[in-house]
Symmetry: C2
Amino acid sequence: DVGIRDYMTSHRTIQLPGLVNIAAFVPGLVSRDSNDLQEVTKASIAAGFSMIRVMPLGKDGSISDAKSLKIAQHNSKRGEYCDFNFSVTATSNNAHQISYVADEVGSLFIPFNHLSDNISKVAAVEAHFEAWPAHKPIITDARTTDLASILLLASLHNRRIHVTAVTTKADIKLIALGKEKGLKVTCDVSVYSLYLSQNDYPGCDFLPTLEDQAALWKYLDTIDVFSIGSLPYQLAHFLQKPTDVSVGIADTLPLLLTSVAEGKLTVEDITARLHDKPKEIFELHDQVGTSLEVEIDRSYKVPSTEFWSPFAGATLKGAVRRVTFQDQVVCLDGAMLSVVPRGNDMSTHGAMPALPVVS
Amino acid sequence: DVGIRDYMTSHRTIQLPGLVNIAAFVPGLVSRDSNDLQEVTKASIAAGFSMIRVMPLGKDGSISDAKSLKIAQHNSKRGEYCDFNFSVTATSNNAHQISYVADEVGSLFIPFNHLSDNISKVAAVEAHFEAWPAHKPIITDARTTDLASILLLASLHNRRIHVTAVTTKADIKLIALGKEKGLKVTCDVSVYSLYLSQNDYPGCDFLPTLEDQAALWKYLDTIDVFSIGSLPYQLAHFLQKPTDVSVGIADTLPLLLTSVAEGKLTVEDITARLHDKPKEIFELHDQVGTSLEVEIDRSYKVPSTEFWSPFAGATLKGAVRRVTFQDQVVCLDGAMLSVVPRGNDMSTHGAMPALPVVS
Ligand SMILES: [Zn+2]
Ligand SMILES: [Zn+2]
Ligand SMILES: [Zn+2]
Ligand SMILES: [Zn+2]
Ligand SMILES: [Zn+2]
Ligand SMILES: [Zn+2]
Ligand SMILES: [Zn+2]
Ligand SMILES: [Zn+2]
C-alpha cells in the first residue's frame, strides 16, 4: 500500500508524483502581455499539477506560426509556477511553415472542433503528416468521421496519434477497436466528462450524454490519460457563470480521489493517467524533487467562492495537502506559499527518441 | 496487335470481350412494375455491355430490405437483354436485417452521397462491417473525410472495399496512398468525369473541376474500373434535359475509343477496366459466347436524337459494330436485332471465394 496513516487526524495521506495536465487551456495564450499562463500555472501547482502541456488554442487565437509562438513565449517570461510546454496548431495551409518551429514546441495539434479553428480537408491533414517531424507527437480533437479519417492517415503513415477530450461512446469504441487492431493511438478524457453529462446541463452538447458517460467508464482501460482541457471553461461560458482562467483545475484530483474512496478507481488508475502515461506519450522529462501529499479519506464540502465550480456544495473526498516542486514546498493545505516562480519551458526537451546504443 | 483490317472499308475492327458496367443506374428500380431495368439492359447490350451490376439506389427508393429486393427481382422477370446482378444498400439501421439477403445479392453498397440515402455515423458503418459476410464485396461512394473513415474501417477489419465514382483529386490521391500502403481498396471513375468538368457545366458540383479531372487522368493507374454510374442521369436532371433511363450508356465506349485513337489510352486500358478488373473485383462469372466487334478508326459525328447527350454533335472515333451474347448476334451496326431477352440474374453467383485446392 502506498498510503501512510496520520494518527493525529486518523486520515490517510498518500504521496503522489507531480501530476501532468496534458491539455491546459490558457484563454489569453497569444494575447499580448496576458497574465493567463501565470495564473493557470499557479492554479495548477496548487492543485498538484507540476507540468502542463498548453493547448495551442486560446480564446482569442492560436499558436499557428513563429510570430504567435513568440507572443506565447514572451508571456511565459512573467514567471510560471510549474513547468510547461507549448504546442503548435495546424491550419489548412501552415503545414510547411510550422515545420520550422517544430523544435521549439512539444507537439502538433490538429483541431477539428475547437472554437474557431478546425481543419476539414483530408488533404490539409495529409500535408501535416508529411511535413511534421516523424518523431514528434501529434494530437487531435477529431470526432466521428473526422476521427476515423485522421486515424487512417496515422495508420497509413505509421504514426502515433493522440486523441484528446474523447466524449462519446462511438469515439471511445473506435479508439478501442483501433488499439485492438494495432493502431498506435492513445487518448484522453476530460475529467469533467466523467462526472458531468448533458443530463446535468441540457443543451450542453460538448458534454457526454449519460450513455456516452457510461461508455467512458466502461472503456476505462482504453483511456490512457485524464485531462482537464477546455471543457470547464466551455461549460462556464455556456452557463454564463463568473469564472477565471483556472476553472476546473482544482476540481480534478478531488473528483478522481472521491472515485477511489467509492471503489470506482484505484490510486494507480490515477497516477497512470496523470503521470506515467502522459510522460510516456509526450516524452516528458521526469521532474526531480517534485511530489504531492494528498489526503484520501476525509469528506468535505466544496466551498462556494467568487469563482464558479459546478461542484461547489458537493461532498468530495480527497484533497491536496502539500505540493513539493524542485525540492521546495510550494503549497500547504491548499494555500500557496510565497515562492519565486521556478517553472521552466520544457517545449524543446525530450522529443527526440533515444538513439539505440550500439554495443 | 488485337486488331484486324477490314479491307473493304479500310477501317480497323477489333474484338473485345463483353463489357461490364459495375454501376448501372436504374431509376425505377424498386417502383412496382417498372420497365426501367429492361430498358437499361437493352441500351447496355447495344452499347457492348453484356453484364451490369445494378446500383441498389433508384430515383424513388433503394433495395434496402427483403421486400424492396423482391420488387426489383419481380421487375427483372420482364426479360432482360444482358446479365445483371443486384446489390443491397446500407442504411443507418438495417445492418442485421440485410445480412439475411446477402446470398441473393452481389454486394453491399454503403451510400454517403447518393440522392436521398446516406449514412453519416461511423457506428452505423461499423455495424455493417460486422454483419456483412466477410467474403462479399462492399462498395461505397464516400468522399473526403467519409472516404477516409470507411477506409479505416476496412483496414481495421481487413476487408476489401471498392470506392465508386471517384471525382476529386483529393480522393484519388487518398486511394493511391492507401494502395501504396497495402490497403485492399479498389475504385472506379465514371467515364463522364473523364470528359466533362465543371468548366463545361458551371455549378455542376458532382462533376470534377478541371484540376480534379487532370488528376484523374494522371492517376489512371490507380483507377481499377471505368463505370457509367448515375452521373449522366444526374447531369441530364441538373440541366433539365429530356432524357430516358439509358442516358450515357451509348456514349461510354466511343468516348474511350476516341482517347485510344488520340493515344491517351490503349485498348488494354479499356478492357482491363471494363472487363478484367470488374470480373476480378466483383467475382463475376465469365460470360461464354459473348463478345463485341468495334471499329476504332473512323470519325463520325454523334447524331442528335430525341434523347439528350452532352456529346451530340461532337466528333468521336470508335463504334460498336456487332454484339454477340450467348453465341447469338444481338446487335448489328448499332441496331438491336429482334431477339428474345436472355439475360440472367447473376446475383447469387460467384461471390464465394474459390476453395484452395489441396494437392
Ligand atoms: Zn510584454
Ligand atoms: Zn502522406
Ligand atoms: Zn533529458
Ligand atoms: Zn515522475
Ligand atoms: Zn408485376
Ligand atoms: Zn468491427
Ligand atoms: Zn461458376
Ligand atoms: Zn471475359
